[in-house]
């Protein structure tokens, strides 16, 4: 068995380039299997993480068509602070409601500066997100009332501006507004869409709207339901109230949408599912093409080595020995291709995970699966050439030119 294997490997090493090209289909196919597995697991782990980070009873109202996710549609009116008040007062299934405005702004501290996602929020926002400070204090209702020039920053900003030694009380400029750091938030990691949630500066809503963007329209409204099982009621109530307040005529489609994390999860799962299907298709086609390539090269190899087969038969090889030799050669090609495919797949999966800030989950199962698949392809497509070799007539093979 071992000697048959070494014969096979020696034969493959003689034609390195040809072997590599032959293996390409298998490499791609197996890599696709590995990526598929890694991405599937990564996405699941990550969706779980991201959702639990959001809080399970959170609701988000955003202007724009309700049908699809994506950037807010232009021309659609934003919300107002009275909308927020109305929701607070009249939606009984809601616990907290907070207006949110965001904008990319330049933040300067000493010699360092950074473009940061800045947000104006009321203190309720931190309750809804269940997001606490690790240093200093959070924003207060009083900050908002006074439109105080204070801010709470995320860990990434603290690191990037090199003020993490003693951030509290540091002065920085947010879009020309001098502003004092009063708190640093605990680390959240990346969001459901791969954004670094700690790369953020929070300011009182009033400060942000009056002293930075110059109007008090509300970009999004965040709210929390009283409990997880009242989230559907809360959502219905929110939709109904906003529907009336925005004067949407009967039969007309809402120009806003209220979403909850489960929808985000469903969307992510849909995307992952599509990705998995595409990769599965790529894997299947690559493996098929790879298998046919292997069969082709093995047929060539059998013809090229007819005399060798004749010699082996003359000195006492049984037809099973020859069958085994060529079958193992085909399998060795596939397994080698499979191993390379696993390496390529893991590398790609790791790279992609890193790029989109998704946790990289080592797809332990993918490796035996990839191995099994390669062996299966090797046997399936290697059997025909190997049988052809094994059934050669010894004398005819010896005399073959």
């Amino acid at each position: 068995m071992f000697s048959t294997f070494s014969i096979a490997v020696t034969a493959l090493m003689r034609n390195k380039m040809r072997s590599l090209l032959t293996m390409l289909g298998i490499i791609i196919g197996v890599a696709a299997v590995v990526i598929m597995q890694a991405m599937g697991m990564g996405a699941t782990a990550y969706v779980g993480e991201a959702i639990s980070g959001l809080g399970t009873n959170m609701l988000i109202a955003a202007p724009g068509a309700s049908r699809n996710f994506g950037p807010p549609t232009f021309g659609v009116p934003l919300f107002t602070l009275s909308d927020v008040e109305a929701l607070q007062r009249r939606a009984h299934d809601l616990d907290r409601v907070a207006p949110v405005n965001t904008r990319m702004l330049r933040v300067v501290a000493g010699a360092n500066n950074r473009n940061v996602n800045a947000a104006g929020v009321t203190p309720e926002y931190f309750d809804i997100r269940q997001w606490n400070v690790v240093l200093g204090r959070s924003l207060t209702a009083d900050d908002n009332r006074r439109a105080a020039a204070v801010c709470v920053i995320g860990q990434t900003v603290s690191d990037a501006l090199a003020i993490n030694e003693a951030p509290i009380g540091k002065d920085m400029r947010v879009h020309d507004l001098p502003c004092r750091v009063v708190g640093v938030l605990e680390t959240k990691g990346s969001s459901a869409f791969g954004m670094d949630q700690d790369d953020i500066v929070f300011m009182p809503f009033a400060t942000f709207s009056r002293r930075i963007i110059g109007n008090d329209r509300v970009g999004t409204i965040m709210a929390s339901a009283l409990s997880e099982n009242r989230i559907d009621d809360a959502k219905r109530a929110m939709t109904a109230i906003l529907h009336v307040r925005r004067h949407i005529a009967d039969g007309e489609e809402d120009d806003f949408a209220v979403r909850d994390p489960r929808e985000v999860q469903a969307l992510l799962q849909k995307v992952t599912g599509m990705l998995t299907t595409v990769l599965a298709g790529v894997a299947a086609i690559s493996l098929l093409v790879g298998g046919i390539g292997i069969m082709n090269i093995m047929l060539v190899s059998v013809t090229e080595r007819t005399r060798e087969i004749g010699i082996r038969l003359a000195v006492g090889a049984r037809s099973d020995d020859i069958l085994g030799q060529f079958l193992i050669e085909a399998m060795a090609l596939c397994v080698l291709g499979g191993l390379l495919g696993v390496a390529v797949g893991l590398g790609a999966a790791f790279g992609v995970a890193h790029l989109i800030h998704v946790p990289f989950v080592l797809p332990a199962l993918a490796i035996p699966i990839a191995f099994g698949v390669s062996v299966l392809v090797g046997v399936t497509f290697g059997v025909f050439p190997a049988r052809k070799a094994a059934h050669l007539n010894p004398l005819a093979a010896l005399r073959f030119e």
Binding site: F2, S3, R14, R307, E308, G310, I311, R312, L313, A314, V315, G316, A317, R318, S319, D320, D321, N393, P394, L395, L398
Partner: protein, 240 residues
């Protein structure tokens, strides 16, 4: 295959062809390479086979070596009809009882001399260390102890043929079938090969069948068979 002291044993030749014919091709294009051959070979004989080109010499060697089966007639090894043996048994016979030496050497290219010589042992199920040891010994026996790691393309014709002989004797066969072993060699190298072959018969008692075109080499053999048109036309010096 026969028990010692069996009274039938001396009556049974080692190899025996009875009314053997070999026909290649079909109908109009059919070639009768062997036509009703009878040939008995006793253990320990040294037989030369001569005859014009196309007279059936190589064909008879292939049949004797179980590389091919006759179209008609019967081939028996120690009384056992070969036609009835399954292919795997024929492979074992080729491996353990026959050694082949060909005019064109038929060594595996890009494979060292030791590995070529050890090839029959791979199929005999001998372990790697033992294979190497025996292959080196066999190469030493044909005077190539120092060329063990050379590849066929690094060896002269005479050396290649000696490697082939080492391969033929590695598994201690009873019969060596040599088809024009000196055909591709000059007379000096040919003489060396003839010396080795003769020694194998004299000192090890191996039965030898050797096809040759050269009457001088044929004269080394005590028994000389002559083929013409698929018939045996002469059989001098038969032992019995």
């Amino acid at each position: 295959m026969t028990a010692p002291g069996d009274p039938a044993a001396p009556l049974m030749p080692l190899l025996s062809l009875r009314s053997v014919s070999k026909i290649y091709g079909q109908q109009l294009s059919a070639v009768r390479a062997l036509d009703n051959i009878n040939l008995d070979i006793e253990a320990g004989e040294f037989i030369s086979i001569t005859g014009p080109s196309g007279s059936g010499k190589s064909t008879v060697m292939s049949i004797l070596g179980c590389l091919e089966s006759p179209s008609a007639g019967e081939y028996r090894i120690e009384g056992i009809p070969v036609q009835e043996l399954p292919p795997d048994t024929l492979a074992v016979l080729r491996n353990a009882r026959f050694g082949f030496v060909f005019q064109t050497f038929n060594l595996l290219a890009r494979t060292s001399a030791v590995e070529n010589v050890a090839l029959p042992l791979v199929y005999a199920g001998v372990g790697a260390g033992e294979r190497r040891r025996r292959a080196r010994a066999a190469l030493a026996a044909v005077g190539l102890a120092d060329r063990c790691d050379a590849r066929p393309n690094q060896l002269s014709g005479g050396e290649q043929q000696r490697v082939a002989i080492a391969r033929a004797i590695i598994n201690n066969p009873e019969i060596i079938l040599a088809d024009e072993p000196t055909g591709n060699l000059d007379s000096k190298r040919g003489a060396e090969i003839m010396q080795i072959i003769t020694d194998l018969n004299h000192t090890s008692g191996i039965t030898i069948l050797m096809v040759t075109h050269d009457p001088a080499w044929a004269a080394y053999a005590p028994r000389q068979v002559v083929f013409r048109d698929g018939h045996i036309v002469d059989d001098k010096g038969r032992s019995s």
